[in-house]
Each structure stands twice: as C-alpha cells, then as structure tokens.
C-alpha cells in the first residue's frame, strides 16, 4: 500500500508538471528552445508550403461518409464539395489536382491531426467559432459554405416545428457545435430536450431508425445529404423549417504560418472570383486565349502587355502565377463545385450565392 501511494504521488507529480501552468511554459520554452535537437528546430523553421512542395502532395483532413461533402468511393478516391476544395488547393500549389492525400478524420480528432502535422489543411465541415480559433491552435479561413443548424424528424412523427418537440430526445454528432446549439435552443424555448451524442453518423442513424431519437439535429446541409441517402427513402423524413444557429463551414490551418494560410485562403477566393468572372472549367482556355480584360488577365496569370513590355502579376502569395487557371481548369469555379455536389442533394444556393446575386460570397480584388 505504501508503494501504491508512492507511485501515485510520483505519477501525479510527473503529469501535473506536464500539464503545468502557462507561466512555467513561457519560462521554459525560452530556455529549452535553443537546447532542443536540430530536428525540432528545422520543423519550426520550415513552412508548410516547403514541406508540401517537398512531399509533392497536400495532406487534406477530410471525412469519408458525408453525402455531398466527402464520400469515400469504392476505388479509394473521395468525391464531394469538401474534397473538391482539397483538390483545388493541390491544383493551386502543385499544379495537379490529383496530388492530394485525403486523410479521413473522426470529428473529435480533427484538430489534433492539424496540430501534430498529420494534415496540412482541414476541409472537413468545420464550423468557425471563436473558441476553436483560440483554443485549438487553428486559423480559420474563407468559409466554403455558410450553413445553419436544423432539425430532422420522421415524416409521421407529427412535429411541424421545433417548438412542438417538448421533452424530445435529440441525437447529434459528438464533439461538435451541434451539442451546444441544441442545448441552447432547448433552454431558449423551454423544451427540456435530452441530447445524446455519438461518434459516428452510422450510430445516430441506427438510433434514429429504431425510434430511440425523436429528432436528428445537425447542419442543414448535412441533414439534406443524410435525408437523400436515408434507407426508407427521403420522403420518410422532414427537415423542420427553423434554422437555429450560424455555422460558417471553413477550412482551417495551423496557427503561425501566415503564408500557408494566405495560400489556402486565396485558392478558395479564386473559385469565387472565377464564378464572378464567368470563367468555368469548360471556357477557361478560350477566355485565356481571347480576353482583353486586364483584371481577368491578371487573375489567370497571363502576360499583361503594355508599351514598356510585358509582365505577369505576382502578388507574393507564394503561389504560382497561374494558380487560378489551374484551379478553375482542373476543379472548376465555386458555382460548378456547388452544382456538382450539393445541388443534387436538393440544396439551394441561398446565402451561398455571389454577392452580385444577393448572397454573401465576395472575393477581394486580385491585383
């Protein structure tokens, strides 16, 4: 027994030191940094862009079974809205949309994977929140999809709106903003929901099919995808009209590498800008050959001919000058990506339309 106590004390001491307070962290990091081995320092110095160029592949954190956003096919490739943005980043940086390594991540592991360098970028239906920005060492970038949380019920349940669901059991995905939003909505409407959370969509589906859950709450885009793939047919389910949260789904990179963050940001902005210009994967070559529009020439990395000679705009992002051309040519513009994956699910453009069409997608000028 004495031995036990001694071991307990020793282990407690070690772990407490490891999880120790911020003050000691600050003190020691200054001292230990020069003393640590060379490998640590080279990692600290090298940028994500360098390691991506060296590896010749972008490691993109994604998921494997979310209809419309990222679905793992039988041949091992990923297809979906999120997957296309992974490919767009690869096309922009490496000039090859296929040079991407899709890493399937569980929801609870996604930030850890980003923190330890298992993935270069996270494009995985992740809501941009202040706590995640601050607490997970993640930098969130231009949202790819502006979503909101909704509620799905069976069509024969008789629920017509969220406020009918007094005392209901709501099933959600674990470790997501969904849990908090459901709890908040429940207390706001005084509904006393019981919120159960599961790791995997498949487990929620099983609980839902068996009638253990009254409602399935998630982002409306996800619910739409799940509804379209429901075993009993999409008509068996109803998505209630209320949307009770803001869920901007945004890609994220690790804090501290501004260059890489800008690269990912401008890749996404390029798909939006391309749609605004009306450039698609089908007409990008003919536009590049014939356009007289200087802003399109700048955007596609074409030579700007003037009296003093010609020049290609290099804004200094660390990207090849023709990155936008590669993205549009190999993957497509935002509208194409949306129509390819989300329109078949029955999702409308809605707030995700260009600002010129009453939406919120607005790319800063490329010049």
């Amino acid at each position: 027994m004495k031995k036990n106590v001694a071991i307990m004390a020793a282990l407690a001491a070690v772990t407490l030191v490891v999880s120790g307070c911020a003050a000691t962290a600050d003190d020691t990091s200054a001292e230990t940094a020069p003393a640590t081995t060379e490998t640590v320092e080279t990692v600290a110095v090298s940028s994500v862009l360098d390691s991506v160029m060296e590896a010749g592949v972008v490691k993109c954190g994604t998921r494997d079974a979310l209809p419309g956003f990222a679905v793992l096919q039988e041949d091992g490739t990923h297809v979906g809205f999120d997957s296309d943005f992974c490919k767009a980043i690869a096309a922009a940086v490496l000039g090859d949309a296929a040079a991407v390594d899709m890493v399937d991540l569980e929801t609870a592991d996604r930030f850890t994977a980003l923190q330890n360098g298992s993935v270069d970028v996270l494009v995985r239906n992740t809501t941009w929140t202040a706590s995640r920005d601050g607490g997970e060492a993640a930098t969130f970038l231009q949202p790819t999809f502006y979503d909101g949380q909704g509620m799905m019920v069976t069509a024969d349940s008789g629920y017509g709106s969220v406020s009918d669901m007094d005392g209901a059991i709501i099933c959600v995905a674990k470790g997501t903003t969904t849990e908090g939003n459901a709890a908040l909505e429940s207390s706001r409407l005084g509904l006393d929901w019981e919120v159960r959370s599961y790791d995997e969509t498949e487990l929620i589906l099983q609980a839902f099919l068996a009638g253990q859950c009254d409602g399935w709450s998630s982002d409306v885009s996800q619910l739409t995808g799940l509804r379209s793939a429901y075993p009993d047919g999409a008509e068996a389910l109803t998505i209630l009209p209320e949307v009770f949260s803001k869920e901007p789904l945004a890609p994220a990179v690790l804090d501290g590498d501004t260059q890489w963050a800008q690269i990912v940001n401008w890749t996404i902005l390029a798909t939006i800008q391309a749609e605004e210009f009306g450039i698609t994967s089908a007409n990008v070559d003919s536009i590049a050959a014939s356009t007289e529009d200087v802003s399109i020439q700048r955007f596609l990395g074409l030579e700007l001919v003037s009296d003093d000679g010609s020049a290609v705009l290099d804004p200094g992002l660390g990207l090849p000058s023709d990155f936008a051309y590669q993205v549009v040519k190999q993957v497509g513009n935002y509208g194409e990506i949306f129509e390819r994956h989300l329109t078949p699910l029955g999702l409308e453009r809605g707030v995700n339309a260009l600002w010129t069409n009453g939406g919120v997608l607005y790319a800063p000028p490329y010049r």
Binding site: M1, N4, V5, M8, L11, A12, V14, T15, L16, V18, S19, G20, C21, A22, A25, D26, T28, S29, T32, T36, V40, A44, A108, Q115, S131, R132, G135, E136, A137, G167, A168, I169, K174, G175, T176, T177, E179, G180, A183, L184, S186, S187, W193, E194, V195, R196, S197, Y198, D199, L203, Q206, A207, L209, A210, G211, Q212, D214, L254, D255, G256
Partner: protein
C-alpha cells in the same frame, strides 16, 4: 612503489559490487529522467509554437452542452461536467462490481456443479463471452439488443405495470421524497442488523447453540426499513408512458443499462474462472472434513470452501474490478456520459486536448489506485496470519 598493499580488504571502487549496483540504478534513473525531460521539452516547444493553452483554465469556461439524466445546465462550467462524468463513471463501476461479484461467483460455482446441464451451460457462457472483444459485445448490446429487440416507446413492454421497458430506457418503481434520508435509514438498518448478528454470535459462543444470524438479522432489517418507510412518509411511484417519454419512477438511461449489462456479463466470465480456480485450489481435506461433520452441500460451500476460496481469489478479483472500471470508458461509444465521453465532448468544443485528457487520465488513475488500496486492505484482512 615496491611496497605491495599488504591485505587488499577492499576492491577498488569500480569493482565493488555494492557501488556498481548503486551506480547502475542511478544511471537508469538518470536516463529515465532525461527521457521524460526530453519529451517534456519537446511538448513545451511544440505547444508554444502552435499556441495551444496548457493550463486548466478551460475548466472555468461554460460547458455548452447538457447531459441526459443529469442536472447540468449548459451555462455551468466544464468543471461541473467533469464532476458529473466522474459520478457517472463511479455509478456504473460500483453497481457493476457488485453485480459482477455475485454473478461471477454463481457461474464459477456452477462450473463445478455435478448437474450436467448447469455445468455445461456455465462452461458455454464463460467460453463464449470471454473470447469476444468487449467493444464488439457492447456495440452488439446497443445496436442489436437495446435498439432492435427492445420495443419502441409507443409499444413499450409493461410487465405487471410496474416497469416500462423500451429502447428509450427502463423505468422502475421508485419512491418519493429525499434519497439521502432513505439512505440514512438503510445505513441504520444495516448497522442494527450487524449488531443483532454480532450479539447472536456472542450468545452462540456462550451457550453453544447455533447462532441463526439470518433468522434474526433479516427480520431486524425488514422491520427497521418498513418502520422508517412508514414513519417518514415515503411512497412508491410507478412509472408510466407519457406521450413519447416515461414519467414517474426512476428511468435508467438505455446507454447506462447497455453498458452495465455488458460490463457485468463480460467481467463475470473472467471472475467465474477465478472463482472456479480458487475453489479447486482449496485443499481437498477441507471438503472431506466438512463432509465428515455432516454439513449440507450449501453449508459446506458457504462456511468452509468459499471463505478460503475468496482468500485465494481476492488479488485476482481486484484486477478484474480495475478492468471493469477502466472498461467503463467504452461507454463513450454508446453515448453514456462518463468521464471519457465528457473529455471527448469538451475537447471537440474548444477545450485544449492535452490538459483535458491528462486530467481525465489522472482521475482514472486516482479511482484505480483507491480501488487497489481497498482491495489490498480486504486482502490483508482475509490473508492467513502466519506466526
């Protein structure tokens, strides 16, 4: 130079076995410390680079989620969520250990039964269950038994109208009023029963007649409980189906039920083997002596064999109890809100992973060490005192 040491009583320092032993141990210790320090340094460097918080301040942030069956308001701090998770882990562990001990012992005895059916059934149970991975068993329990075999709430089973069984949980009759006071009544009933049984033992020692502890103790217990129940005005509440939920009574969460049953069934198969082995390890002469005293089969088991078997079984049983406690973390896969589930949820919602999981790890460590201390105390009391 010419004078040789007259009598080399001491070998040189580098060949002195005592010094070498110490030096070697110190070297190993230094290496371990250096390794841990190196890991810690790496951790600090990496964490500082990616600006991840390393302190426990996240415990004061609002939890932002609710827990089924627990009074956790979403504005309460993460700390309270961890405390509730700790209670839930304890709840399933304590009930699980009690049930496992009973079931495991019964199956262990059944393994040695002379009755062919009983023996075969017990053997089949042990061999089937202990050779299946626990996670698989739990998933099966949740998906196949709870979700598919149990009825929907609309068609809930109502055995005797006392219980409501559906895939939303099992509601049992419960009482109105304060649980704490009833617990006090239960405690005083147990103490009184214990005193009565002790007195009977003394009387038996003096007059040599059988103590009959059970015949005296059980009525004492029942009388105290019933008297307390009536005097304090307790009453039963029966559960019933109210729309799509159950009202009244005590509702056992379906995930609690699934986890508890799985842990008990699984751990019992191991406990049964330990109990069987320990019974067989009691020397045969004890059994023969009991036969010679004309003790009945039950008496022989209860008074002679089992007390000695448990002395042998106790350390191994302690390990199984620890396994059960640690395995309760699998409840996170079926939405049972125990410690691991809480850690996963809070980390997913912005709490820093390393401190949160370190804290969880330390709590498990604490529970396990306290359990082994208790097991060791019991073991010491059971152990033969040799002079």
């Amino acid at each position: 130079m010419s004078s040789l040491p007259s009598a080399p009583t001491k070998p040189p320092l580098w060949r002195d076995i005592r010094v070498l032993r110490w030096a070697f141990q110190l070297l190993v210790l230094a290496l371990v410390i250096a390794f841990v320090y190196w890991l810690y340094g790496n951790y600090q460097t990496n964490v500082a680079r990616s600006s991840i918080p390393t302190d426990l301040r996240f415990l004061d942030n609002p939890a932002n989620f609710t827990m089924p069956g627990n009074d956790l308001d979403q504005s309460q701090p993460v700390r309270d969520a961890f405390v509730q998770g700790f209670y839930n882990t304890l709840r399933v562990s304590i009930v699980g250990i009690l049930l496992t001990t009973v079931l495991g012992t019964l199956v262990g005895i059944a393994r040695l039964s002379k009755n062919f059916m009983v023996r075969t059934f017990a053997t089949a149970y042990v061999e089937l269950i202990r050779n299946i991975p626990l996670l698989l068993l739990l998933t099966f329990m949740n998906l196949a038994v709870i979700l598919q075999t149990f009825p929907r709430i609309e068609n809930a089973w109502l055995p005797l109208n006392l219980f409501v069984i559906s895939n939303r949980g099992i509601a049992i009759p419960w009482f109105t009023g304060s649980g704490g006071i009833l617990l006090a009544v239960l405690a005083s009933a147990l103490v009184l029963t214990w005193i009565v049984v002790k007195i009977r033992g003394r009387v038996s020692d003096i007059n040599g007649k059988p103590a009959r502890g059970l015949t005296w103790g059980l009525p004492t217990f029942i009388v105290v409980m019933v008297a307390g129940w009536i005097v304090l005005g307790y009453d039963w509440v029966l559960p019933f189906v109210d729309d799509r939920a159950t009202s009244g009574g005590l509702r056992l969460d379906p995930s609690f039920f699934a986890l508890l049953v799985t842990l008990v069934v699984y751990t019992s198969s191991h406990v049964a083997e330990i109990v069987r082995g320990s019974i067989q390890a009691v020397v045969k002469g004890q059994s023969e002596a009991a036969d010679a005293l004309a003790l009945s089969g039950g008496q022989k088991m209860r008074l002679v064999i089992l007390p000695q078997a448990f002395r042998i079984a106790m350390p191994a049983l302690g390990n199984q109890f620890l396994n059960l406690i640690k395995n309760s973390s699998l409840g996170a896969t079926i939405s049972y809100f125990e410690l691991t589930q809480i850690a996963q949820i809070t980390v997913g919602n912005g709490s820093p992973a390393v401190p949160a999981f370190t804290l969880t790890l330390l709590v498990y460590l604490m529970i396990s060490l306290v359990t082994s201390v208790i097991v060791n105390i019991v073991n010491r009391r059971l152990a033969l005192v040799e002079r």
